[in-house]
Structures are given as structure tokens and as C-alpha cells.
């Protein structure tokens, strides 16, 4: 079959029914065509066929015969393509970049038809490409900007383009599915179709006879278990005898790609005996409920608690008490890149190339699973097409590793969308009861919080959620009497794990909704109520931790005032009543950066080669949030070198020291500090040798460094063990103190603060909510790269909006991106980001973490705006049209 690919004639021989995406990627090396769902739902695979955008994944390859097919790679050469590359860079329209090739192709088609499109035209044209990272507004800006001008590279404070942006925009970036060698064997995991079932294998020899290798629990040489918290490593690689959730792995097949493709997993010889399953914490807690894990009594995996003062007495004596019950469901991360990777043996060692947020943890776990020495394993993370917490846990790694070890060949795997959704972690569903006591003039006196979190079948990050929530459930407010207790409860649901905010978005929904009740009952302006209670420097948190500096919540709330007053005036002008009603809502958030009272050091190595090249070993995973750029900017500023001359290496467990995991909003803060120290140390080494002042301006030239008229010849220095003329390795671990039995201590060295404002319009007849705009104030201490800050905020708001209005994962029913809805480009209104810089003494150059703060206030701000518009308080997320309409028409139950 012949066709024209990117202007050149090509020929391929697809099998009948082959997807065009597969032909392009596997037969014609067009790996710039990304695949997120294989079902037309995400648009990552968009290509032009005879000039029209289509999803290559649902285009029969045969239909390309004789046609012109253009991928982003070919379109880069066109005037529209070149303009878009420049503006996507200038606006940072790519974060993880997995959706970007699809966005680019759709945008080229638009610009050809409409050279100066309106916002709505951009939305219509790009509506078929999902992005989970950006919140879309930067993409709209980029497509509309006819004369893009990027900000020149610079150090801390510069809104420069991402250092790794170009590769993402051009499709050159290599993700988990883009790296396996040609001819690698393919692994497919056989999973339980039942939430709970006994099973027994039939004749596995029959499978082997087809030329397939079978992997089961018997093939795990080390410990058949993985997990992220040492005391809770409980999830088998392959279940034995009984499965605990729908999608749990029981076996895998390995073989040549064509042989695996021809095998229908339904034909795998396994007999299932379905058993009654626990589908909710209520069922799991019922007396006599079967135990998901025999050693976890009552299905309670763990508890968390923070207690301060005397909450019972304070509630008793409060002038007013508000209370409510709140409920949220499973939320799926829906990173557009499904989990993927490959493993191979190289010189007696094992290499695992896969998308991950935590290469160091992967290494430790894989050594245990494989019963191998850590030194014999190398983790080489690929680019990550979105993570949001789910890629902290192992997913594909054990399967490709076991397959490569057993077959002796490179073995690859890419999860299908449904397999990814069934088997990877989710946000914990929550059931929360909360009471808040206050004085007549709106001073908070007491809070009592009880939260049950459905942690699913296995622990994953459930203990972290149970611990983090009590610390954060007070919000950034001064609360003298406090008791927050949580339980993580096992069910036969998918394992709940880490998802941006570790349970705090759920607790913020409860808290910030109740504050709205309080404001209404006391007749106090909701923003004023929050300001009155906002923590200040010198106040004690509910953990008894006192920050003498850096508490920025007051500044965030004050920054919302103009937008709030404006919205009030607008809404008042529209008048009350009518079918379409507008409302404004606010909510706050805070979030401790780094691990809760546990060490989480990061180490950065940097060196200068004899030829003068400056090399930064950057081990912090950039999952789209921008670590590659931020860490480099901090390092360059500390050293006093231009950021664009740095050579970045890693992450790679052979080449980069451990910079910890990309979670807990810790990379800018913790690894940033290590980079700052590394930059300063290298500077000191140079200025000492040059015999100039410590702050002298340095000039980096080939083979030498100059300062104050002095010159240092790098070739003259003896190379160190890494081959550098000079190098340094610096670590940072945030200072914290353990929490006692009442949760008193110093859990985090710093918190970041946020306040969001949402204006919505509600169609009361249909129960539809249309957010009209957001204003988001974020205290980031110091904006290392203001454009990256905006990108995080906008992307977080998009996820918060999804959680508020449409997202709920239901096992067996929403296991694809057709039925599980995440916001599209038409669902995000304009977002104004107000950057607050209340420097933090521990942060690098004052900077605080941001990655998770960005979605904590969003859902409650939206729900509060709906309440402002309609008078109805919603106690359950998501607020689907059906739920909202029911709430608007039915008498309230709570």
C-alpha cells in the first residue's frame, strides 16, 4: 500500500483492520503520532488525511492508500506549523506534551482555513484533543497569537520557555511507548473481570504451545508484592487464588508482537468463581463483612488523627455550630499517556525504561520483587505524559522486567486505556462529617472532622492520605480547638493512591462548604469571614506548628477582593430569579510541601567538564510541571551562569543522584534547594580557584572560566571520578519534627497557600453549570518561572473543575475516556492568576511548592458559587446536571 507521508512517498503493508496510528508508529517510525486511548476519545493521534484532521487510531490504515497523510513532523515545515511552534513555546502551551502533537495538527488545519481565528473557532477546532495538564487556556492563547515572542532565557524570576519544550511541541519527545527497540516482544497482562473472585488456571501448556510465554506468581523470584509505604507493601504482582478488585493481574503472556496480538485474552485458561464484593466503605465496615486483608481488622487499614485543645467543650460553648456530611467518589487521573515501557538485559544487568514519577522508589521496589541487587538494576525514566500521582506507584515495570528475565529478550508493554483505568490508582472516595463552631462575630473556635476514605483493595498511598488530611482539614485558618480523625478503609474497589492533594481536596470541599454556611448564618461576607480567620505569621497551626514568616493566605484572600467585588456588582445588576442565575464563590487552600514529618532528601550533582561544558545531573522527574526548567533556572542563578548553556542529564538511576519522587509538591522546594546548594558550591570552587570575590561575575568559555581579569584553565585540572574538571554533589532535606499521638509537631518545613474565586452561571432548568471565569491567588514564595506558575494553576483548576462537575470513576462502567468525562477545551473559562510572593525562609530563594495547591480550592469555590447563584448547597461531588437539578427541585435532606 502506497501513500504520501509528510510529502514523501512511503509504502507499508498493514494487516486488515490495522489502525493507521499503528502503521505510522510501528511500520514507518512516525512516533510523533501519540496514542492515548485507541478509541477516538483523546485526539492525541490526530493526523491530516488529505488535509482533514482525523484520529489515526480509528482510521483503517488501508484508507490511507493513495492519500496524503501529514503528522506534526511534516507540518512543522509549513508556515502555520512554524508559527505554532514558536507560539506554543512562548506561551508554554505544552506541559507534559503528550497531547501537543495532536493539538498542533488540529491547529494547523484551523489556521489554514481561518488565519485569525476567534476563541470559539479555536475551541471548535481543538475540541477533539484532550489535555489533562494545561487547562487549555495557554493553548488557546498560543493558537491565537499571530506574532509570538518568547521571553529570553534567564535565571530565577524569568518567564522563559521550557528548556524541554521544543521536543514536546515537535513530537520528538520519547514517552513510555516510544522507546522499545524494534522487534521487542510484547507483554499482555491477564486481569480479573470481577471485583472479587477465586480463580484457578486451566491448561497453561496450551498457551505455551501457541508460542507464548506465561508469567504467573510462580515466576516472581523475589517478593510477590509491591507498595509504596514499607509497612504496607501488600499488592501482589500476580494474585494467587483470589483477586481483590476488578482489573487485578493474575498472569501475563509474552511473545512476538503478532502472536500476542492474535491471542484473545478471553481465551486465557482461567476459571473464575465470583465472590460477593465490598463496593463501599459502609459495606466494608458492616459487622461480619469479609476481610479484604485478614490482618486488617474491620477492614480499617489505618487511621490518622490531629487533636488540639478541647473540641467537645468548644463546640458546646460556641455561639454557633454548623455541620454537614459530604461525599466524593473515585476520581481517575486520566493522564493522556497510558503506562508504558520496556525492559532489557544489558551486560548482566536489567534496564527498565518506563514512564514514572519516582525512579528511586522504582529501583528499590524492583530489587525486592526480582530478588536482585539494586546495583544490577537501572531505571531509565522516559518522558512522562502526565502523572498527577498515579505514576508514583509501580505499574508496568514488574511485568516487563519479569518478561525480559524469563525470555531473555527486550519486552515491552503499553497499557490499553481500559487496563490503565481498571488497574492503576484513583483519588480516594470520601465520606466526611464535619462540625465547625464559631463566635457571633465569625471567629472560628472549634472544628471536628471525621473522614472515611475508601482506599480500595490495596494500601498504595492510603496511609499518607489518612495522615495528611487531619493536618490539613482545618484549612489555613486559626483553629484553637480541633479534632480530626480519619480512617482508610479497604473495599474491593481499585486501589486508591496519590492524586494531586492526597485527600486534601476532599476535606477542603467539606470545610469550605461549611464556611459558606457559617457566613450565611452570621450574615458575614464570605471573603471577610475567611480573612478574619486566616492564619498569620506567629499563629499556631492545628499541629501546634508556628511559622514566624511566610504565611501568605491573608495576602491571597486580599488579592481576590477586587474580583469578588466586581462579581458581586455584576450579579446584582442581573437581578435575582430567572432560569439562568449567576453566582460567585471563594475558597482557600493550603498544603505542606514535602513528606509529612519524614525525611525526603534530594541530591543534585553538577560539574564543569574540561571542555567547559556545564552539566546538571537533574534527577527530579519532570512530568509536565516543569522541573527540568525550574531546577536549571535555580542552579544557573546560584552559579551565575546562563541557563541556556546548561547540559541536562537524566533522570537515570545510573547517572543522577536520587532527587526523590515527584510528589508532595516537593521538587521546586526540595530539589530546588539541592540545586541552589550545588550552584553555590560550584561557584565557590571556581571563585576560590580564580581567587576572586565570592560574588564575582563569572564568564564561561570553551575550556576556561574567567572572572575579574583572572582565567581558570579547566583542562589543567585533574578530572575527578566523573570526568569533570570540577564537580559537586549537594543534598537538601527539609527540617521537620515528628508528630506525636495527637498530631502535634512540625510536619512540614513550609506550606504554600491559595485562594480561588469562581463565577458561574447555572441553568436551573437543566441543572447545567457553566463556569464563567476563575481568579486564582497563589502564594508561591518566589515565582521561579511565572509562566510555569500560571500553567500549574490553570491545569489544576481544570482538574478541580472536573472533580466538581463531571468526574466519577465507576468500576466496570466508566473504564474509558468516552464514559469517564474530563474537561475539554470548551469547558474552561478564562483564568486569571494572581501570583503572591510571600518569601519562605526554607525555600530556594524564597520559593514554595505549588503542584497540588492548585486544585484544592477549585471544587469548593465552584460549589459555593452554585450556592450563591441558586441557594442550594451541594454535599456530593461531582455536581452532575442530574444531581443539581434534583437538588434544585427536591426538598433538602440534610
Amino acid at each position: 500500500m502506497d501513500f504520501i507521508l509528510n510529502g514523501a512517498p512511503v509504502s507499508a503493508d498493514p494487516t486488515p483492520g490495522e489502525r493507521l496510528s499503528q502503521t505510522l508508529r510501528d511500520r514507518l517510525s512516525a512516533s510523533e503520532v501519540k496514542v492515548g486511548c485507541n478509541a477516538g476519545d483523546c485526539g492525541a493521534c490526530t493526523v491530516l488525511v488529505d488535509g482533514l484532521p482525523v484520529c489515526a487510531c480509528i482510521t483503517p490504515a488501508h484508507q490511507a492508500r493513495g492519500k496524503r497523510v501529514d503528522t506534526v513532523k511534516g507540518l512543522l515545515q509549513t508556515p502555520e506549523g512554524q508559527r505554532l511552534v514558536a507560539s506554543f513555546q512562548a506561551h508554554q502551551a505544552a506541559q507534559c506534551g503528550i497531547c501537543t502533537p495532536g493539538m498542533m495538527v488540529a491547529a494547523v488545519a484551523l489556521l489554514r482555513a481561518v488565519p485569525a481565528p476567534s476563541v470559539v473557532q479555536v475551541q471548535d477546532a481543538l475540541g477533539g484533543v484532550l489535555c489533562r495538564c494545561t487547562g487549555y487556556r495557554k493553548i488557546i492563547d498560543a493558537v491565537m497569537d499571530a506574532t509570538p515572542a518568547a521571553i529570553a532565557p534567564g535565571g530565577v524570576g524569568t518567564a522563559m520557555a521550557r528548556l524541554d519544550g521544543l521536543a514536546k511541541i515537535t513530537g520528538a519527545e520519547a514517552y513510555g511507548d516510544d522507546v522499545a527497540p524494534l522487534g521487542a516482544w510484547v507483554v499482555k497482562v491477564i486481569r480479573s473481570p470481577h471485583a472479587r473472585a477465586d480463580f484457578a488456571f486451566g491448561d497453561l501448556q496450551a498457551v505455551a504451545a501457541l508460542g507464548l510465554t506465561v508469567l504467573t506468581a510462580a515466576d516472581v523470584p523475589g517478593r510477590n508484592a509491591f507498595g509504596v509505604i514499607p509497612a504496607y507493601v501488600d499488592q501482589p504482582i500476580f494474585a494467587q487464588r483470589q483477586t481483590r478488585f476488578r482489573g487485578e493481574a493474575v498472569a501475563a503472556i509474552v511473545g512476538e508482537a503478532a502472536v500476542v496480538a492474535a491471542f484473545d485474552p478471553e481465551d486465557f485458561p482461567v476459571d473464575w468463581t465470583p465472590l460477593p464484593a465490598l463496593t463501599s466503605p459502609a459495606e466494608a465496615l458492616a459487622p461480619g463483612a469479609p476481610l479484604v486483608h485478614p490482618d486488617r481488622a474491620g477492614n480499617v487499614m489505618c487511621r490518622g488523627r490531629v487533636r488540639r485543645g478541647d473540641v467537645a467543650a468548644a463546640l458546646e460553648t460556641a455561639d454557633i455550630v454548623v455541620e454537614g456530611r459530604f461525599q466524593t467518589g473515585f476520581v481517575e487521573h486520566a493522564a493522556i499517556e497510558p503506562e508504558a515501557g520496556f525492559a532489557q538485559q544489558v551486560g548482566g544487568r536489567l534496564e527498565i525504561h518506563a514512564c514514572t514519577q519516582a525512579p528511586g522508589m522504582d529501583l528499590e521496589s524492583m530489587a525486592e520483587i526480582l530478588g536482585m541487587d539494586r546495583a544490577d538494576i537501572r531505571i531509565v525514566p522516559t518522558a512522562v505524559g502526565g502523572g498527577f500521582g498515579t505514576k508514583l506507584d509501580l505499574s508496568v515495570q514488574p511485568y516487563v522486567a519479569l518478561a525480559a528475565l524469563k525470555t531473555g529478550r527486550p519486552c515491552r508493554i503499553t497499557y490499553s486505556r481500559s487496563c490503565s483505568m481498571q488497574s492503576t490508582t484513583k483519588r480516594h472516595p470520601s465520606a466526611i462529617h464535619m462540625q465547625i463552631g464559631a463566635t457571633r462575630d465569625g471567629q472560628l473556635t472549634a472544628m471536628r472532622f471525621d473522614g472515611d476514605f475508601d482506599t480500595g483493595a490495596y494500601a498504595s498511598w492510603g496511609p499518607t492520605v489518612a495522615n495528611r488530611v487531619p493536618v490539613h482539614a482545618s484549612g489555613p485558618y486559626l483553629v484553637p480547638h480541633y479534632l480530626a480523625e480519619t480512617r482508610a478503609i479497604h473495599t474491593n474497589g481499585p486501589p486508591s493512591g496519590a492524586f494531586r492533594g492526597f485527600g486534601v481536596p476532599q476535606s477542603a470541599f467539606a470545610l469550605e462548604s461549611l464556611l459558606e454556611d457559617l457566613a450565611a448564618r452570621l450574615g458575614i461576607d464570605p471573603l471577610e469571614l475567611r480573612l478574619r480567620n486566616a492564619l498569620r505569621n506567629g499563629d499556631a497551626t492545628v499541629c501546634g506548628q508556628v511559622f514566624d514568616q511566610g504565611v501568605g493566605i491573608g495576602a491571597c484572600l486580599r488579592a481576590l477582593r477586587p474580583a469578588y467585588d466586581l462579581a458581586r456588582v455584576e450579579i446584582a445588576a442581573l437581578g435575582a430569579g430567572g432560569r439562568f442565575r449567576r453566582g460567585v464563590g471563594v475558597a482557600s487552600g493550603w498544603y505542606g510541601c514535602g513528606n509529612t514529618s519524614l525525611p525526603n532528601p534530594s541530591t543534585i550533582r553538577a560539574g564543569i567538564r574540561p571542555d567547559g561544558a556545564l552539566v546538571l545531573h537533574q534527577g527530579a522527574m519532570d512530568i509536565g510541571q516543569g522541573a527540568n526548567t525550574v531546577i536549571a533556572q535555580i542552579f544557573a542563578t546560584a552559579l551565575g551562569a546562563p541557563v541556556d548553556c546548561l547540559v541536562l542529564i537524566g533522570p537515570d538511576t545510573d547517572l543522577t543522584p536520587d532527587a526523590g519522587k515527584t510528589s508532595a509538591s516537593r521538587q521546586t522546594f526540595v530539589t530546588g534547594n539541592a540545586a541552589l546548594r550545588a550552584g553555590l558550591a560550584l561557584r565557590a570552587a571556581l571563585t576560590t580557584r580564580l581567587n576572586v570575590a565570592p560574588d564575582a561575575a563569572l564568564t564561561f568559555l570553551p575550556g576556561q572560566v574567567r572572572a575579574g581579569g583572572q582565567s581558570l584553565s579547566l583542562a589543567a585540572l585533574p578530572p575527578d571520578r566523573f570526568g569533570y574538571a570540577l564537580s559537586t554533589e549537594q543534598s537538601y532535606d527539609p527540617p521537620t519534627r515528628p508528630l506525636d499521638a495527637d498530631g502535634q509537631g512540625a510536619p512540614y518545613a513550609q506550606f504554600g497557600y491559595a485562594a480561588h474565586l469562581a463565577v458561574v452561571e447555572v441553568d436551573t432548568a437543566l441543572g447545567l453549570v457553566r463556569p464563567l471565569r476563575f481568579t486564582a491567588a497563589h502564594d508561591v514564595g518566589r515565582a521561579i518561572n511565572p509562566l510555569l506558575v500560571e500553567g500549574q494553576v490553570q491545569g489544576g483548576i481544570a482538574q478541580g473543575l472536573g472533580m466538581a462537575l463531571m468526574e466519577e470513576y465507576i468500576p466496570g462502567r466508566t473504564e474509558n475516556l468516552h464514559d469517564y468525562l474530563i474537561p475539554t477545551i470548551g469547558d474552561l473559562p478564562p483564568i486569571e492568576t494572581l501570583i503572591i510572593e510571600e518569601p519562605d525562609a526554607h525555600g530556594p530563594l524564597g520559593a514554595k511548592g505549588l503542584g497540588e495547591h492548585v486544585l484544592i480550592p477549585t471544587a469548593p469555590a465552584i460549589v459555593n458559587a452554585i450556592r450563591d447563584a441558586t441557594g442550594v448547597a451541594l454535599h456530593r461531588l461531582p455536581v452532575t446536571p442530574a444531581r443539581l437539578r434534583a437538588a434544585l427541585t427536591e426538598p433538602r435532606h440534610d
Binding site: 485507541n38 478509541a39 477516538g40 484508507q63 484473545d264 437543566l766 441543572g767
Partner: protein, 275 residues
């Protein structure tokens, strides 16, 4: 296992008569349904059949070829009676899906939420089916038997949709979903109205995603016919609907929402027709 790419209708019908082949057009329903499972049997790609694509007028009837894509429909220059169908075309999935998905694929897939069906019902569409045995026509309502079930015999190909000229009717379509793009309808409604001398003189109203197959609302149509434009609309009669509760919405919500959608749509069309 083959993928037949035919250019002559006779070859396609012969292949279907031989059995063991599945028709594929845009593939936008076929691939998601297939998933990762291995493909058994042959495929018959009908997008190369030039005669099956395009829109033409033949006397008092319109013919929409089976493989006409949503994009082609949206871009076609058609009288206002087709505005509803064209509005549906613009709201199917995404631009990518509209560029590939075909109108016959939509009805053959027979999803209760197929956006093309309500406007086609309101346009009194008939389905043209061809096989080596000959050609027959079925009213669309008779063609659609239930979710994923049609009256198409295994050896038949849908070759076109045949629609009587809608004359001076105005038409419209409204779709309700939980997000802006790429969304399967919670419910959708379509209407073709003829307005004459201050009255509705003919009304064809159809509702989708509220019963196993999309359906007309004869009772409400009758109530609307003869209705003076200056008077408030009669309340939609939805007794024949049988909405389900699913992940997208509850049955009660669907019923209530449809009443609103219908009233909004007809009100809009009256305003449009009057101007």
C-alpha cells in the same frame, strides 16, 4: 483475513453475499467496539464507493449517500429544513470524528444516543438497503429495532438515506451533555416545523437517548399542529418515552430535561421562522 477495498457497488454486494465480512466505513464506531481483540473475519471498506457519497436532490426527494461524512453534511448547502441535521453533524464527537464518521455508520451502529437519528426521524427519512437480491426501502423507525439492532440483513448494505423535500420547514436540534465537546448525549431533540399564517401547520418532533431507540412524539406533534404562534406552547407529552438511569443521568432527569429542551427548541424555531 482480508480488507477488501471496493470501488464498484456490485463487488461490495457480492462480497456481502459471500458472508464472513464486516462493513467498515469511517471506523469511528467499529474500532472502539473492537478494542484490542484480535480481528476475526474479513473487512469490507466501503469508503471507496464514490456512488455512496454525497447529497443530491432528485425531484421531490433528497438522497444522502451512505458514506457522506458529518463534515460534508455540515458544509453542504441545504434548505433550512436540514438545519437540525446539520446542527447534529456539527455536534457529533469532534472535528476528527466528523471528518471520518458517516451517516449510515451512525444509524447502522444503532446506538440509542446516535445524534443523527432524531433529525432524520423529523425529516421522515427512509433507509435504502441494497443486496444482490435487490434494493428495498424502510422507514428509519422500522430500520432501528433496538440498541445495536437494525433490520438490515447480513448481506445488505445501506446505500443511502432518502428524505422527502422538507419544503419551507424550519428545523433544529439540541443536544444535552455534561461537557462541551466529545460527549455522548444525555438526551437530544430535533424538530421540523412548518409555520404558516401565525400557526404551526406541521410538526415533526423526535427525541433521542430516552428510549431503546430514538422516537417521534406523535401526541405532542398533534398538539402542536394548528397551534397559534402567539400562544404559550402546550406542555410536551412524553408518555411514550422510556428513559433509563445510567452513568450519564437518571431517568427522572432525562424526562424533565427533555421537556425543557423541546420547549426551548420549538420556541427558538418559532422565533426564527417568524423573523
Amino acid at each position: 483475513m482480508t480488507c477488501l477495498q471496493v470501488t464498484k457497488l456490485q463487488d461490495a454486494l457480492q462480497a456481502l453475499a459471500g458472508g464472513g465480512v464486516t462493513v467498515i466505513a469511517g471506523g469511528t464506531d467499529w474500532f472502539p467496539a473492537q478494542g484490542d481483540r484480535p480481528i476475526r473475519g474479513g473487512l469490507l471498506d466501503i469508503t471507496g464507493l464514490g456512488a455512496l457519497s454525497g447529497i443530491s436532490r432528485q425531484g421531490t426527494e433528497w438522497r444522502i449517500g451512505a458514506t457522506t461524512t458529518w463534515s460534508a453534511l455540515a458544509a453542504a448547502n441545504l434548505p433550512p429544513g436540514f438545519d437540525g441535521l446539520r446542527a447534529a453533524a456539527r455536534q457529533v464527537g469532534s472535528v476528527q470524528v466528523q471528518n471520518a464518521g458517516t451517516i449510515a455508520g451512525n444509524i447502522c451502529n444503532a446506538s440509542p444516543a446516535a445524534d443523527g437519528v432524531p433529525p432524520l426521524l423529523a425529516l421522515l427519512a427512509r433507509v435504502e438497503l441494497a443486496s444482490v437480491r435487490g434494493t428495498r426501502h424502510l422507514a428509519l423507525a422500522d430500520f432501528l429495532l433496538g440498541p445495536r439492532r437494525t433490520a438490515r440483513a447480513p448481506d445488505e448494505l445501506v446505500t443511502a438515506l432518502i428524505l422527502p423535500d422538507p419544503g419551507a420547514a424550519v428545523s433544529g436540534f439540541a443536544k444535552l451533555g455534561a461537557r462541551r465537546y466529545l460527549v455522548i448525549s444525555i438526551a437530544m431533540v430535533a424538530a421540523n416545523l412548518t409555520l404558516h399564517q401565525g400557526r404551526i401547520t406541521a410538526a415533526r418532533i423526535a427525541v433521542g437517548a430516552c428510549a431503546p431507540v430514538a422516537m417521534r412524539l406523535p401526541a405532542w406533534e398533534a398538539a402542536l399542529e394548528g397551534h397559534p404562534l402567539s400562544q404559550p406552547l402546550p406542555v410536551p407529552d412524553l408518555q411514550t418515552l422510556a428513559p433509563l438511569t445510567d452513568v450519564r443521568a437518571t431517568a427522572a432527569y432525562r424526562r424533565a430535561a427533555v421537556a425543557t429542551l423541546l420547549t426551548d427548541l420549538v420556541t427558538d424555531l418559532i422565533a426564527k421562522g417568524a423573523s
